[in-house]
């Protein structure tokens, strides 16, 4: 699903953000990406959805390679991915339904197919009764659910979540995490960047830890000198 081969990303002003990173996330897998702020987690995610290209090395996502993907092909890749952010990135002047429908419209879904799909997605994320609410009328957890519903519009093979619970309280975080688990259980791979070590420890999923631009730990490939976190 995702393969990083000796990927280095260097920014002209801030220097090396990722250094010689190699890892693989399989189809249907759930993996956490952890590490302190500025460690390189978001850079990895941006490289996955090809917002950035590596300075050296290669990123492969769903059969598309960073080395030869053309700019006009990136939308095709993004339609196979779902992306969720800490700040939800909803359009404030549109209702929950309209936010989800918007993603379907811009990807060319036939008009008549949109309302039933929006209804199904709202039900899936537990917001069937909040379709006509504007984002400001929803709690943080509910807004993130709308964002997740929007990320699911194209039935993605991979869901990328960049600190999805960063702005949420404990209860909402648990709800969002359960939703991501359910999505994963239905076959969608999930790559989730998080600071929430408690959440990571409580789960059984794979952990990839990044620090100062380097992958310092991968629970799928434990090193003898660095045992995995106790709860994993």
């Amino acid at each position: 699903m995702i393969r990083f081969s000796h990927v280095t990303k260097e920014y002209p002003r801030t220097g090396v953000a990722l250094n010689n990173a190699s890892f693989h996330v399989a189809k249907g897998e759930f993996a956490f990406l952890t590490g302190p702020s500025g460690a390189g987690k978001s850079t990895i995610l941006k490289l996955v959805y090809m917002e950035e290209r590596p300075t050296s090395g290669e990123v492969r996502v769903g059969g598309m390679r960073s080395s030869d993907i053309k700019r006009r092909e990136i939308p095709k890749l993004r339609r196979r991915l779902g992306i969720v952010f800490q700040d939800f990135r909803l359009l404030e002047d549109r209702t929950a339904e309209q936010n989800i429908a918007f993603a379907l419209e811009v990807t060319g879904t036939p008009r008549e197919a949109i309302p039933p799909k929006v209804g199904r997605l709202l039900t899936q994320v537990g917001l069937a009764s909040k379709g006509t609410s504007l984002p400001r009328e929803l709690s943080g957890g509910e807004q993130q659910r709308v964002a997740i519903a929007r990320a699911l519009v194209n039935d993605p093979v991979l869901l990328i979540a960049d600190e999805p619970s960063g702005n949420l309280d404990e209860r909402a975080t648990r709800g969002i995490f359960q939703l991501l688990r359910d999505i994963n259980a239905s076959g969608t791979a999930v790559l989730m960047a998080t600071h929430n070590l408690e959440l990571v420890r409580r789960s059984e999923y794979r952990v990839i830890e990044v620090n100062r631009g380097q992958i310092v730990f991968d629970s799928a490939e434990p090193r003898p000198d660095q045992p995995p976190p106790a709860a994993v």
Partner: protein, 283 residues
């Protein structure tokens, strides 16, 4: 297209002040350009009127055979540069002189003035070189005593026309450039105001063409509306100048006016294409 139009109308409704400001900025930029265009048009018309007075006068020798003169008139009229040839008899010359010059008021004997051929040239053939060449050819007729065409005056007129043309071209390009920059910057504000929406569209897999289309339509519509406003303002300015200063001036013909409005739309479209293109490259 339905979605594009909906997004354009949403954009207008969501930021009405920005939309009005954009249209007004476009309108005033095009108005300044239009005013310059009006000045250029009227200067050009005035010069054209003066140019129409460029003529070659060939004085006919006394006793010249009328058949030879008539044949020469037909011959000269067939020159490609010549618009018309008239024979001015001494009587007609005297009548004209008495009308135009006070000192001829007391002259009644037409014999004091020679007959002449009055040769007018077609537009595009009134430059000093062509006028001189035609004059030289006319001079070769045996019955022609002398040829006059105000060489110095034709040269001066030609210089003025060239200077006016070059100044008009340079100023026109400068005004158009300033209008494109101002309009581009205005549309860039609209693009920046919708940056979040653009980033979301791109994240969910919208193509660049899809993202760009509503902005192009928006820019074109604003350009056309701005162009119409600019045309209305230019017309009001023209009427005011016409009435208060009493100058017999000319306004754009309907074809040129329509072209100006379409140019507004095209500038809006180009400004949008540049702004949104730059934004898409940057994000």
């Amino acid at each position: 297209m339905r979605l594009t139009l909906r997004e354009v109308s949403l954009g207008l409704r969501r930021a009405p002040l920005l939309s009005v400001l954009s249209v007004l900025t476009i309108a005033f930029s095009l108005f300044a350009f239009g005013l310059f265009g009006l000045v250029a048009l009227n200067v050009s018309e005035a010069l054209k009127r003066v140019e129409e007075r460029v003529e070659i006068r060939a004085f006919i020798a006394d006793g010249a055979p009328i058949e030879a003169v008539s044949a020469a008139v037909g011959d000269i009229a067939s020159f490609p540069e010549v618009a018309r040839v008239d024979i001015i008899t001494p009587e007609q010359a005297l009548a004209r002189a008495r009308k135009e010059m006070g000192e001829f008021q007391d002259v009644f004997d037409a014999a004091v003035l020679p007959a002449s051929l009055e040769i007018r040239l077609k537009p595009g053939y009134r430059d000093p070189r062509t006028v001189r060449a035609v004059a030289e050819r006319v001079k070769t007729y045996s019955f022609v005593d002398d040829v006059r065409y105000g060489e110095e005056w034709v040269q001066k007129l030609y210089n003025i026309r060239n200077i006016a043309g070059a100044t008009g071209l340079v100023l026109g390009i400068a005004f158009a450039g300033v209008a494109v920059i101002i309009i581009g910057s205005t549309i860039r504000m609209t693009v920046l105001a919708r940056a979040r929406e653009i980033s979301i569209m791109r994240l969910v897999g919208a193509t660049d063409a899809f993202v760009r289309l509503p902005f192009l339509v928006d820019g074109f519509v604003k350009g056309v509306v701005g162009g119409l406003l600019a045309l209305a303002m230019a017309w009001i300015a023209y009427r005011l100048i016409d009435q208060t200063l009493g100058i017999d001036s000319t306004f754009f013909q309907s074809g040129s006016a329509a072209l100006g409005v379409v140019a507004g739309g095209v500038i809006g479209l180009l400004g949008s294409a540049l702004s949104v293109g730059r934004h898409l490259r940057d994000v």
